[in-house]
Amino acid sequence: MDRNKQHRQVALMRQSLFDQGLLDEQFVQLEELQDDANPNFVEEVVTLFYRDSARLILNIDQALDKSPLDFAKLDGYMHQFKGSASSIGAKKVKSECTLFREYCKAGNGEGCKRTFQQLKKEYALLRKKLETYFQLARQVGPVETACRRI
């Protein structure tokens, strides 16, 4: 019974990520790619995303410190970042990327800076929630291999 309760907890946690608008359909696509050949695929991809995007975040932070702002460069960085965020289904992060690029096109530096702060918050929040989710999911294990009482 405890195991069933844990599985349900994992499922509810997962659903909340979608209900809160943090993840979209692309995350489901990644889950569908996970199988015996790639048992930790989703977690690996998310880990790779956070590792790769750390460099982009740093680049954008540094570019936002410069004066005058190079909007073309900023847009280029954000284009890459958005591509990666989209590929893991990071819905809110992706929205902030889109907004940032609109500010770049408008040459609005303050808008860019403000949006980037919000983006970093969403990025960190998603990371924390996914880490918790993956940790719990690993502890509980897949539903198919749940232990049966003998």
Partner: protein, 143 residues
């Protein structure tokens, strides 16, 4: 614009269908973003294809110049050294008749049209998903 080239995506099934062929379909994924490369590779492998990777357009062109051939090329647009438009133009001018499908995060009609004009068979907005892959592989099977 979500796609251009083949007919409308009619499949709504999320099941990954392995296309039954005697020989595995060979796919070259041309993509500089390692994360997207990984996702697309696993996706295409799951569909039963044999996948090779190139990280920019020049690597893709060099592969064909060295005599490699692929049934399908999935290429990003924006890449360092040589982008997808230039790579597609060069492949076509070399006489490459493989199916070349663009996969780009650009979604403006003009940008996608420019990519198509380079010689693509179709173009999709990223990210790839099972539905899009099914359409592409079925189209390839029907050629």
């Amino acid at each position: 614009m979500e796609k251009m080239g083949f007919g409308n995506v009619t499949s709504t099934s999320k099941t990954m269908k392995i296309i039954d062929t005697e020989k595995k379909i060979s796919v070259l994924i041309v993509e500089d973003n390692l994360l997207i490369q990984k996702i697309h590779k696993v996706m295409m492998t799951k569909f039963g294809t044999e996948v090779q990777l190139a990280t920019n357009g020049k690597e893709a062109v060099d592969l064909f110049l060295s005599g490699a051939s692929f049934d399908l090329v999935l290429t990003d647009l924006e890449m360092p050294i040589m982008d997808g438009i230039e790579a597609t133009k060069q492949l076509r001018s070399m006489g490459v008749t493989s199916m070349i499908v663009g996969v780009t995060s650009r979604n403006q009609d003009s940008e996608i049209q420019a990519f198509m004009n380079a010689g693509l068979n179709a173009c999709y907005v990223k990210p790839l998903n099972a539905e899009k892959v099914t359409v592409v592989l079925n189209e390839l099977k029907n050629i």
